[in-house]
Symmetry: C2
Subunit: 300 residues, 2 copies
DNA sequence: GTCAAGCATTTGTCCAGGACAAAGATGAAC
DNA sequence: GTTCATCTTTGTCCTGGACAAATGCTTGAC
């Protein structure tokens, strides 16, 4: 018998739920109910960890933990079961209707080819503005509905990343204006948003300098100074805890020079109120508009 | 006056030190000594956060927190000050002697060109085996000595990543054997190790399937099954807490099918004892040797 | 029936202070 | 100098309490 038990740190890694949260759920709702090891420390069986991953996913659909954790296993399984996919939706003819099934069939070469073909047919700008953003949303929602697994999302991301990086690499990299620093804060690991913006802005002749994901605030500020950038652009995914976004932006704003603009975009800022000193980009085209208005204001 | 105060969660993000650690340091060593906000919660001034980042860096050199946190500010500053770079070292003529200064001067185009040129001169295999591994180590150590900042490391990583991905994209992707799944566990965000292995193995005709970084164990196992891979290869950087590596490998091993090999490589496994069921790759060429021996055993 | 304002509940994160295993340093014996 | 045993340091876990912010609910006005 292969009974693996995980300690609380491993469960935090595996589920993304904090240690405090795991303990307080146990106290309040009676779940999870880990065993104890020889030292009295929590030892979670695999099936409880799986249930926690399910709960986490369902919370993304607006369900609250109090309900989910006190519900019976049967009710939970029903909520969690992938809904029969409305194949009618395929009639819309969108790319996502073609691609999500390919991802689910684990046909990587087909996914890669379909993406490449679509890019070449549409051109980079249209591809990013219409196809990639729609696909990202479709893949994310398919995960929340339980239709695809996390690793399938990773596979999709990796294919798309390779394609976008290749396309960006093929663009001319001049000494354009403005200079834009791209990155995400620590804990935010989604990279596609950055690559999309990098593609759009580079196409328009801006000079993009990417730090990749998860840069500490102090280093974002240092990099902005060292690279003498005009704009710092951050990307927040829907998965990022939204309560943290505005405080973070405020902290970073205080560390940047006044002449440097601060932009924040991605699904994680769609529902936020913009402070005066930060420019929120709720949708992708806002970035192009923002670029144009920066150039107007700075006489280019 | 611009006195930003950070709460304990923000300090954790910024420094990478856990909340428990921050509180126990305060209790034991009297540092950090945050103020309290209106609700009695810790509020860390910026200079204390900076000192914590310095301490974290010095700990990478083998210094222990008990010494560092009770040392005077002056002693600490002396330890932390970048040592005058022994320019004599430049006489070795290695690539790192050329590149690290370019990184420090923030001359991105020069870094990019130097890397590209070296790659073309050496060929991909030699470039990965000799140049990239040496550079990664040099950059990491330069950070530990305080010669370069985190953001400069990010810039280097981003340039190298673009180059390696481009080189990999140009390789023929056949239906080779074995099929290898590449990824890192959650909390391990270093991507260059993965790309290096992907380049080496793809060059030798293996079929590499990368999940990118930070895949939960459950999903690594699911992906291995769905993609019917022969080998799962994980990368651990020196920054990954080494105490966690072996338990992680054991957990994953238990979830993989017996016919699937498990490899672990990178600076994070150099000093570990290998369990029987996992193959530790302490140095890069071990991967090539491992590939050859897999093929011998499976009659290819 | 719709909307806003006020009230109640839920929820995540913080706190204090205790405990202890694992890793690292130290010293004794060979 | 090397090996083994002991002491010290250090990170992470524990319990149980507290409370702000977010969310949901009710009431009342139009």
């Amino acid at each position: 018998m292969n009974r693996t038990l995980m300690n609380i740190a491993a469960v935090e890694r595996e589920t993304g739920l904090g240690k405090d949260t795991l303990r307080v759920w146990e106290r309040r709702y009676g779940f999870p109910r880990p065993e104890r090891d020889q030292y009295g420390e929590r030892a979670y069986p695999l099936d409880q960890v799986e249930k926690l991953r399910l709960v986490k996913r369902l919370m993304g659909q607006g369900l609250r933990p109090g309900r989910l954790l006190t519900a019976s296993d049967a009710d939970l399984a029903q909520l969690g079961a992938p809904v029969a996919v409305p194949e009618v939706g395929a009639a819309e003819g969108g790319v996502s209707a073609t691609l999500v099934p390919l991802i689910r069939q684990h046909d990587l070469p087909a996914v890669s080819n379909a993406l490449r073909q679509t890019l070449h047919r549409q051109g980079l700008q249209h591809f990013v503005l219409e196809t990639v953003s729609v696909l990202n949303r479709a893949v994310g929602e398919a995960w929340m509905r339980g239709e695809i697994e996390v690793f399938e999302e990773h596979l999709y991301t990796e294919q798309m990343q390779a394609l976008l990086r290749q396309a960006i690499g093929a663009l001319p990299q001049g000494e354009g204006q403005p200079r834009v620093l791209l990155t995400t804060v620590p804990e935010e690991q989604h990279v596609l948003g950055l690559l999309m913006i990098e593609a759009l802005l580079t196409l328009e002749g801006a000079r993009c300098i990417s730090l990749g994901t998860q840069t500490p605030l102090a280093d974002i500020a240092l990099a902005a100074k060292a690279q003498r950038v005009d704009i710092v652009a951050l990307s927040f995914s829907a998965a990022f805890p939204s309560r943290q976004v505005l405080p973070l932006l405020k902290q970073l704003r205080a560390r940047l020079e006044g002449s440097c603009d601060l932009w924040a975009g991605g699904a994680g800022v769609e529902r936020l109120r913009a402070p005066e000193t930060v420019r929120l980009m709720r949708h992708l085209p806002d970035a192009l508009e923002g670029l144009a208005s920066w150039r107007r204001e700075h006489g280019h």
